[in-house]
């Protein structure tokens, strides 16, 4: 799909870079964007909460006026789609999920960040941003947003319970199931494992796809026909639903990440696999009963290898909202400032753990704050991250939601894994037909 305005925008970025990015050292008369108003949409997170109070500094150095609008996680996407699809264009800078990138690109709502000149690139140090995090925010080899936040999944387990039982952290699916079984004592209210069960393309799919990929599951074939209900897919769902039906707390089919976290911090669950940023809550004595008893390790591997769920929240320039050249420049400048090295390093003091820059992750300041075992596990996990963990296609959200229903049905026991996935494949085929995606070449490669 051609992207009108792209060439122009990349030139603008060059212009921005020539001004000296986000630099407070600009002379008083070198504020060409002074008085430009931009609206920035955020999702409220510790990472973004750190940015907001710093904004007056940015406003002072550039003269740009910034208005922040914050939405909770589950509303962000809907609000953006409402704004962009109706052409309202109230926001110049938008925070968006890595999973939404293909959809927003194809709809022509965002343009790529590329063509920074040498000086600008050096100053911003794009290469310092973790390769995997950049991959998450890219589509068809072009980078569309710069990361504010990124997370990766790993295994968190109870060191004390493992010691008592004399078991080691599992490294394969079989070991994982065996340990889960051994540490489950339903009569005593003890459970081996908790993972996400609640439906949603970003909910239970985040956890399930680790197993799906590990068993060699694939979502679409080369001409966009669903194949997630083949043997590998069914085997993965059988494994996942058996695991949760037998060794997870009651109500598992409705577990969101929040429930997984609560089950773990209440001390009733021995192992979970979820996002690395759980760290701040599960190690907080006010919110957790298991502080200091937690071990961290990589996700276990299946016959096809180990796959971590990764996710990033990025800032992009809205083509609908940033109408004038000045607004585009101001929006780009804001993004480069907000995701800069200085800002990320500063956020470490505020207790932010989900950093996206290697230099910040390797800084003394960061190492001082983080648990070494956690840090090691997170670093290794990022090396395992695959940007195509979730299929990079416009169809993902709907397809992911439909498959997530099948996953939940299998956990709840309403349907067998095979029947649930077959039904999902029928629905996905119908959807792909309606949206004229079926039969077209696939836009990404399945891991």
């Amino acid at each position: 799909m051609p992207l009108p305005g792209l060439r122009r925008f990349t030139h603008l970025l060059c212009a921005v870079s020539a001004l000296g990015l986000g630099s407070g050292a600009l002379a008083q008369n070198a504020k060409p964007l002074a008085g430009t108003q931009i609206n920035v949409v955020l999702r409220s997170l510790p990472e973004t909460d750190y940015i907001t109070p710093q904004i007056p500094k940015f406003e002072e150095s550039t003269g740009i006026k910034v208005q922040v609008i914050s939405f909770p996680e589950n509303q962000l996407r809907d609000k953006l789609v409402q704004d962009l699809s109706t052409g309202a264009g109230q926001y110049q800078v938008i925070a968006l999920d890595s999973m939404a990138v293909p959809e927003f690109v194809e709809a022509n709502w965002i343009v790529p960040f590329e063509g920074l000149d040498k000086e600008a690139e050096q100053k911003y140090d794009l290469q310092d941003i973790d390769n995997a995090a950049r991959g998450l925010l890219s589509y068809k080899d072009k980078l569309y947003a710069l990361p504010i936040y990124a997370e990766i999944s790993h295994m968190m387990y109870r060191k004390d319970l493992f010691e008592q039982a004399g078991v080691k952290p599992p490294t394969t699916f079989d070991e994982f199931a065996a340990v889960a079984k051994q540490l489950t004592d339903k009569a005593a209210g003890k459970y081996g494992v908790a993972l996400r069960g609640l439906r949603g393309f970003g909910m239970n799919m985040s956890s399930f796809v680790s197993f799906f990929r590990g068993f060699g599951g694939q979502f679409l074939d080369e001409t966009n026909h669903p194949i997630f209900n083949n043997d590998a897919g069914v085997k993965a769902l059988q494994f996942y639903s058996d695991l949760l039906r037998n060794y997870a707390p009651p109500g598992e089919a409705n577990f969101s990440w929040d429930d997984v976290q609560n089950a773990f911090t209440s001390g009733k669950v021995a192992m979970i696999i979820d996002a690395d940023n759980f760290y701040t809550r599960i190690e907080d004595p006010k919110k957790s009963t298991i502080v200091g008893k937690i071990g961290y390790a990589n996700v276990p591997a299946g016959p096809h290898g180990a796959f971590c769920n990764s996710y990033a929240l990025g800032f992009a320039v809205s083509t609908v909202g940033a109408k004038s050249d000045k607004q585009k420049q101001a929006a780009a400048e804001f993004i480069l400032w907000a995701t800069s090295y200085d800002m990320q390093l500063g956020s470490v003091d505020a207790g932010v753990v989900s950093q996206t820059r290697d230099k910040v992750l390797n800084s003394d300041k960061y190492k001082e704050k983080a648990n070494p075992q956690w840090l090691k596990s997170v670093e290794e996990s990022w090396k395992l991250a695959n940007p195509n963990y979730f299929p990079k296609t416009v169809a993902w959200r709907t397809m992911g939601d439909i498959v997530s229903v099948a996953v939940q049905e299998a956990i709840a026991g309403t349907k067998s894994p095979k029947a649930a996935l077959d039904q999902a494949a029928t629905e996905v085929t119908e959807y792909l037909k309606q949206t004229r995606i079926l039969g077209t070449p696939r836009s990404y490669s399945e891991p």
């Binding site: 789609v81 699809s85 022509n108 939940q408 709840a412 026991g413």
Partner: protein, 295 residues
């Protein structure tokens, strides 16, 4: 002879109200009709907006998912409004018979409390209560050595668990309307019934309930229309899950139109369907109860 200008005057007075009505009701309705006759996908503007006629209705009427959702909506209305009516009748009778009018005023105030809670807040509170692992309900059941079900995660139980929340919040509404009805009933008829030897239950069933008919009609009508679009509880408690065990028609419309795929045309068709069904149900109900033809 009536001067010409006089005839224009009513229109002049009506104009502001009509203008508001046109803006808030007619324009959106016309736009909704446009949407439903075309195929519009919010996130895929490159697909265009082709005219498809009634095809969106065909989809809603042939897909098992939407038909299930419609059936579930009607079932949900039944399992909420019926218990609310029965509880409302008995409790309002008990309150009217058992308490002096001063105490009744206090009770009425207390009854308003659940209704004053926003539905979303009610839903979130019940989510905590229902929590199978750390929730108070299962804690109590466990200490009594009773089974501890997964209230919202068990596909056979989830819709009933949500219905219970609706019953908790809206039975007071029934009680208040019916209590007001009972207050209007003349004491003489009950005295006469008593003289004829009618026991308490007989007085309730043969005298109070028939006299309450117009009040029952209104209360049930309100609750039915409200219960048909119980989005708040379902969204906070189950989001339509597990699987689609609690996906009602409005959640289906939300999923198809906004959260899942952005196909607002099919979603609008589902919304029209809901509108048609509430109208049909409402009309049938008021006809059955002969509303407007009171004794």
């Amino acid at each position: 002879m009536i001067p010409q200008q006089k005839e224009h005057r009513p229109w002049l007075f009506l104009a502001p109200a009509l203008a508001v009505l046109i803006v808030v009701a007619i324009v959106p309705l016309v736009y909704a009709i446009y949407i439903v006759l075309h195929s519009i996908n919010l996130t895929m503007p490159y697909l265009g907006k082709p005219f498809v006629g009634l095809d969106n209705f065909r989809l809603v009427f042939t897909e098992s998912r939407s038909l299930d959702a419609l059936g579930r909506t009607l079932f949900f209305v039944m399992i909420t409004v019926l218990p609310e009516l029965v509880l409302g009748l008995f409790l309002s009778w008990a309150i009217q018979r058992g308490f002096s009018s001063r105490h009744r005023a206090w009770i009425t105030v207390m009854l308003v409390v659940p209704m004053a809670t926003p539905k979303v807040v009610g839903g979130l509170v019940w989510k905590v209560l229902y929590d199978p692992l750390v929730g108070p309900i299962n804690f109590a059941l466990q200490s009594l050595h009773l089974p501890t079900p997964a209230w919202l995660a068990d596909p056979n139980l989830a819709l009933f668990s949500v219905a219970l929340v609706d019953i908790w919040q809206w039975t007071p509404f029934m009680i208040i309307i019916l209590l007001a009805g009972l207050e209007t009933q003349p004491v003489e008829v009950f005295e006469a019934a008593q003289l004829d030897g009618a026991a308490e239950l007989r007085q309730f069933w043969s005298v109070a309930v028939p006299l309450l008919r117009p009040f029952i009609t209104v209360a049930v009508l309100f609750r039915t229309l409200d219960s048909m679009r119980t989005f708040d509880y379902l969204f906070t408690l189950t989001q339509g899950g597990p699987g689609r065990a609690t996906e009602t028609l409005d959640l289906y419309a939300y999923a198809v139109g906004i959260s899942e795929s952005g196909n607002i045309s099919v979603a609008t068709a589902a919304a029209f369907l809901l509108l048609i069904f509430s109208n049909v149900l409402g009309t049938l109900w008021t006809k059955t109860m002969k509303w407007g033809h009171e004794v």
